[in-house]
């Protein structure tokens, strides 16, 4: 059975897996400029590799309640696909590891990692209203 590498992240108490191929970089301590008047899903604006980066709250995007402080880690991720692909920062509490998940995990939308239920994120569709 073939597997695909995923970046395992922690959002509060729960886990999420991002396809490693979509993850550009994991960054910590990026300077975030919060925007007054912006929606709750926007953590702030940052700079990455000379370019402006909008940082969104992954937990909020996944429909989970955000508790506690602002996300400490920014996972710079390609969202969308093709020409529509854009680099967006996803704010998470912790980036854990890169792990192999079953290829079917994405389609399932979730997997068990170390016994723990994990949301498998479809980065191509993330943030787009259905």
């Amino acid at each position: 059975m073939s597997t695909t590498p995923y970046l395992l992240v922690r959002l509060g108490e729960s886990l999420a897996a991002l396809p490693a191929s979509a993850v550009r970089r994991v960054v910590r301590g990026a300077r975030l400029h919060p925007l007054p008047g912006a929606g709750p899903g926007l953590v702030g604006l940052a700079e990455f590799a000379g370019e402006p980066l909008a940082v969104l709250d992954l937990a909020q995007l996944l429909g989970k309640e955000r508790r506690g402080a602002r996300p400490a880690v920014t996972v710079v991720t390609w969202l969308g696909s093709g020409s529509d692909r854009e680099l967006v920062g996803l704010g998470v509490d912790e980036a854990i590891e890169v792990t192999e998940l079953d290829a079917s995990a994405l389609a399932l939308g979730q997997a068990l990692v170390g016994g723990r239920p994990t949301v498998v994120v479809d980065t191509e569709r993330l943030g787009v209203e259905a």
Binding site: L35, L42, L45, A54, E86
Partner: protein, 100 residues
Amino acid sequence: MTGGFLIVRRGGVLWGLPAEHVSGIERVERVEPAVSGLDLLLTGGSRLAVESVLTLAEDLAVQPLSARLRRFLPAGSSGLAILAGEPIVLMMREDDASHV
């Protein structure tokens, strides 16, 4: 003003307005909120209160906002840019300024 963007700071964040939309800048003393600052006089006739004006940037690399991001950013934002390592939110249309 023609060409380029006028880069101003408002609410701690950098904004960029197309220069041709700005007709003037006025220094203003405000009581409420107790902020002294500047008023941009817009060609539409409205005024935009800003904390400071940084510069007029002529060659900004504009990154247009995707539909995805547009949902999260304030209405009227049309793009993002970087100036000296700091992100800027760009306002493209004149009448968008009122939404800022």
